[in-house]
């Protein structure tokens, strides 16, 4: 079995600056980390590897320095890592990002399963996994909490929906987007970390794709455009009160007034 895992490098803080012209995030100069939710996707893949001996291929799209994501993945036990890199991909929205990932994954081969994290901490939309599944013509599930291999072609999974938990059987190939709480990532092993440093990394560029038309990628391949960006509306500025703890507690207790009365009764 071969498993593809999608991982992304994100800014360590979620408060980066914006380019005022394009509305795109300025990533330069920000400390970069692996999107924490994607580590859970890798963990889910590693669990399946332990049961089945599956091969894990990690895909990341980003600048050169996003190679660090693949080194982390190697240190945790991934078999192969690919960096999808090229200026053509800059400014991609959900449609263009998922299309690029599909082209990249298909350029490597066939996978029985694709695993994604719940969302990224910078984009925050949780929409790319479902979009990728649709490009690949695969069934998919979000919010997955358990994955069990039933036989070579089927998985038994559980996932959350509004006010219910669902158990289902799904045929491979399929895409699953997993919940972090259910797949707590393991610590990287020192041994793998060292060997992973020298491990080759696959480089994927637009030339490797079936569709090499630059129009279909990045900003030009995106269906949505940022029209304008603006500061959020502020409410009337209130005077910030600086008080010592006794007075601050008095103040808050007064504000809470009626609410405390009810709480006590």
């Amino acid at each position: 079995m071969r498993i593809a895992v999608c991982m992304k490098q994100v800014p360590a803080t979620s408060e980066g600056d914006m380019d005022k012209e394009t509305g795109m995030l300025k990533r330069a100069g920000l400390e970069a980390i692996v999107n924490t939710y994607d580590l859970a996707a890798l963990e889910a893949a590693l669990c399946l590897k332990e049961q089945t001996g599956a091969q894990i291929h990690v895909f990341t799209m980003g600048p050169e320095k996003a190679e660090a994501v693949l080194r982390t993945a190697y240190a945790m036990g991934a078999d192969m890592g690919y960096l999808i890199c090229g200026k053509e991909f800059a400014g991609s929205d959900v449609l263009a990002t998922s299309y690029t990932l599909m082209q990249a994954i298909e350029s490597v081969g066939r996978f029985e399963m694709i695993l994604c994290g719940r969302q990224t901490t910078d984009g925050d939309t949780a929409q790319v996994s479902g979009a990728l599944a649709r490009w690949m013509n695969m069934p998919h599930f979000n919010w997955v909490k358990r994955i069990e291999l039933k036989d070579n072609e089927r998985f038994k999974i559980s996932y959350c929906m509004e006010q219910r938990e669902v158990e289902a059987e799904v045929q491979s190939p399929c895409l699953l987007s997993v919940e972090r709480e259910a797949f707590i990532p393991r610590m990287p092993s020192l041994k793998l970390k060292i060997s992973g440093k020298k491990k080759p990394i696959g480089r994927i560029s637009i030339e490797d794709f079936k569709n090499t038309d630059v129009k279909d990628y990045g900003l030009s391949g995106s269906a949505t455009k940022v029209k304008r960006i603006f500061p959020p509306k502020r409410t009337e500025k209130k005077e910030v009160v600086s008080l010592d703890k006794k007075m601050a507690a008095d103040y808050i207790m007064t504000v809470l007034g009626s609410c405390i009365q009810e709480g006590l009764q």
Binding site: M18, D124, A131, A133, P139, N142, W143, M161, P231, V241
Partner: protein, 337 residues
């Protein structure tokens, strides 16, 4: 897509999440939003529901200003592949310019599939929608990763897909303005070899922070996981619950269900005490309608103070224990009396 092509798409379609004969409130709210938008575009509002017991769904819809309701009866509950197929068929037939989907677990699983099926744009978790001069949909949401808002448009493709979190837009009263046409159809799931739902277990929404009158919110200023106990205690004493900002969910200290913000829950309690929350745009998108915001932060320039009704520059580690002590004292005095 050329202008002529775009002109073939008109109207606003609202996807209703239906489960066991009930419509999720996100869908009802979006009918209200679609109606408000439709008065600007002078186009019609349509709804689409998929699931069992469409008889009851039809009853629930009666009176809303809907031109036509497409109701697909299937005994199979939501799975992305199957519901996408039905929704896509409806959209192909109707050709709506705008499709609004509730940003629920179901909606956020379905929307990206549909957007790709139509090779079009999707803007997730919009906090405001409006109509541009050219008739296009302006979708506003906090910009990716920044502390600014972005207005996003889909200039050349249709339909324009947007998701909106529950609790963000307001429902309207039933006004009996329209004599709604109901198109009912029974559909058979052909995908059961690929996906089969084995069982569906109801989960009690115990920690539902959206239904609380009082919330105590933990932010990045909380130094270690153990300290959350004190915030939970304070919340308990006030008859509410503890919630958290995204930072602590990412650290794994709190659960996603406890998160306030764009990627978490939208809440509007009577009282909120934020403790060490800096106030990112994405956080504020989820709590803007709170009636009384008491913010505790040591940084006098924290953004949360821009929205707080009662901004208190102080250390949560001083204030919270003090509040707990006073509330406990108050309680024991009442017990003694």
């Amino acid at each position: 897509m050329r202008e002529k092509e775009i002109a073939k798409w008109s109207g606003i379609l609202v996807y209703l999440e239906c489960y066991k004969g009930h419509i999720h409130k996100a869908g009802i709210e979006l009918i209200g939003e679609a109606y408000r938008l439709s008065r600007q575009t002078r186009e019609e509002v349509y709804v689409l529901g998929i699931g069992e017991d469409m008889e009851r769904i039809q009853e629930e819809l009666t009176g809303y200003p809907i031109e036509c309701a497409y109701l697909y009866e299937t005994e199979d509950e939501y799975t992305p592949l199957w519901y996408e197929e039905i929704a896509a068929e409806c959209i192909r037939r109707l050709k709506p310019a705008i499709v609004l989907i509730g940003g629920t677990l179901e909606g956020r699983s379905l929307a990206p599939r549909l957007a790709v099926a139509f090779r079009t744009g999707l803007t997730a978790d919009c906090t405001a929608l409006s109509i541009a001069e050219d008739g296009g949909l302006i979708q506003t949401r906090p910009a990716f990763g920044g502390n600014v808002m972005a207005s996003i448009v889909t200039p050349e493709r249709r339909p324009q897909f947007a998701t909106v979190r529950p609790g963000v837009v307001e429902a309207i009263e039933k006004n009996n303005l329209k004599d709604t046409a109901y198109i009912r159809k029974t559909v058979q799931n052909k995908n059961i070899d690929i996906i089969r739902v084995l069982k569906s277990i109801p989960v009690e929404a115990q920690e539902d922070i959206t239904k609380q009158k009082v919330l105590v919110v933990a932010g990045r200023g909380v130094k270690k996981k153990e300290d959350l106990a004190m915030l939970r205690e304070l919340a308990g004493l006030l008859g509410g619950k503890m919630a958290s900002s995204r930072a602590l969910v990412e650290k794994g200290w709190t659960k996603a269900a406890e998160q306030i913000g764009l990627s978490g829950n939208t809440v509007s309690p009577e009282y909120m005490i934020t403790c060490g929350v800096s106030g990112t745009v994405q956080f504020m998108a989820g709590m803007r309608n709170t009636k009384n915001i008491i913010a505790i932060n040591t940084d006098a320039n924290a953004r949360i103070f821009d929205v707080a009704h009662y901004p208190v520059c102080a250390d949560l580690y001083d204030i919270v224990p003090e509040l707990i002590q006073r509330l406990k004292k108050g309680r024991s005095e009442i017990a003694e009396a």
